[in-house]
Symmetry: C2
Subunit: 167 residues, 2 copies
DNA sequence: ATCGGATTGTTATAATATAACATTCTTACG
DNA sequence: CGTAAGAATGTTATATTATAACAATCCGAT
């Protein structure tokens, strides 16, 4: 499945400047609500607020930037509040941590738990999540060959997105 | 080449407790010296010292642990000193940063510049560097398909090393 | 209504990393 | 040699990222 070529539905699409981003946000929030309802988890005001802020763009966001932006609307928010929200969102697969950036990005995948890979544009900062089956398999095979019991993978690819590459 | 099965020469070998680690250290230092000589770079006392400490084990080492250990022998060493040494060693491909651990590990590769992948044991902390051509190719292909101009890859696989897995 | 667990608030601090400028060391050259 | 320029290190301060510990509050179930 998902072998379609139509732009917008691609697995590894970058979004660039002008696109109907409201839809991206809407989709993410809808998914979060559904997923939390199904699991009996509480998508509280603060958690939803953090998720919205993360989805403000397709870039990875730093925890302390979230903190600043939250403090604009709510009254002074402290680090633990943000980190707890992030912890919750990550535990439920709604947000990923990008280790090589110390930053967080909304999960644009669909299935519940997945090992995501990321394409990270060094120019514009946009992050695109892939579910690269090919990479996943190559990784799994190499690990197996080394007698390694694979649990979790961090695959973060840095370079230039299509838009920035052709500039 | 390098299709041999003899332990110690494998591309993805974990080392475990008892092995002739002096040789690992010796090899690393010899390589560092040769490489620096070739490039006209200066492997100063501090840089060599940091490299030795990193090679004290096959685990990834935290910058502040290096700091502490340096401060035992030399008189109080400060963060910039360590980070500068690390910066130099990384610039010359003698040390890698493991982003998912905020830690540093000696490069056990042989060729000059390479995109390494790491197997990281969650139990014993040992890190094994791979030059997984298969992974590298899968990654390159996926990036190309997305129109992405790949510059650098972070591939860090967490799990259990052979020794810890069979325990 | 109220109890218990989950969530958030609050204060403090740990852990990781860099900026900026002073000092010392090395090397090349006169 | 002596010395000047650049490289490396020392030093002080601070930025950035993250967590510990305990108090207050919220919220749903009885
Ligand atoms: Zn969007
Ligand atoms: Zn870009
Ligand atoms: Zn060894
Ligand atoms: Zn192990």
């Amino acid at each position: 499945m998902a072998k379609s070529q139509d732009p917008g539905a691609g697995l590894t699409a970058f979004h660039g400047a002008r696109h109907a981003h409201t839809r991206c946000v809407g989709r993410a929030l809808t998914r979060a609500e559904a997923l939390c309802r199904r699991r009996g988890a509480r998508l509280t005001y603060m958690r939803r607020r953090v998720l919205e802020l993360i989805w403000d763009s397709h870039k990875a966001v730093k925890a302390y930037d979230l903190l600043d932006r939250l403090s604009e609307s709510e009254k002074s928010v402290r680090p633990p509040t943000v980190y707890r929200a992030l912890e919750f969102l990550m535990a439920h697969g709604l947000v990923h941590r990008v280790d090589s950036l110390n930053a967080f990005v909304g999960c644009s995948g669909s299935d519940e738990q997945h090992n995501a890979q990321f394409l990270i544009c060094q120019e514009c900062g946009e992050v695109s999540e892939m579910d690269g089956a090919a990479i996943g398999k190559a990784v799994a095979r190499q690990a197996a060959e080394a007698g390694f019991n694979l649990r979790r993978q961090t695959v973060e690819l840095h370079g230039e997105c299509p838009a920035c590459a052709t500039r």
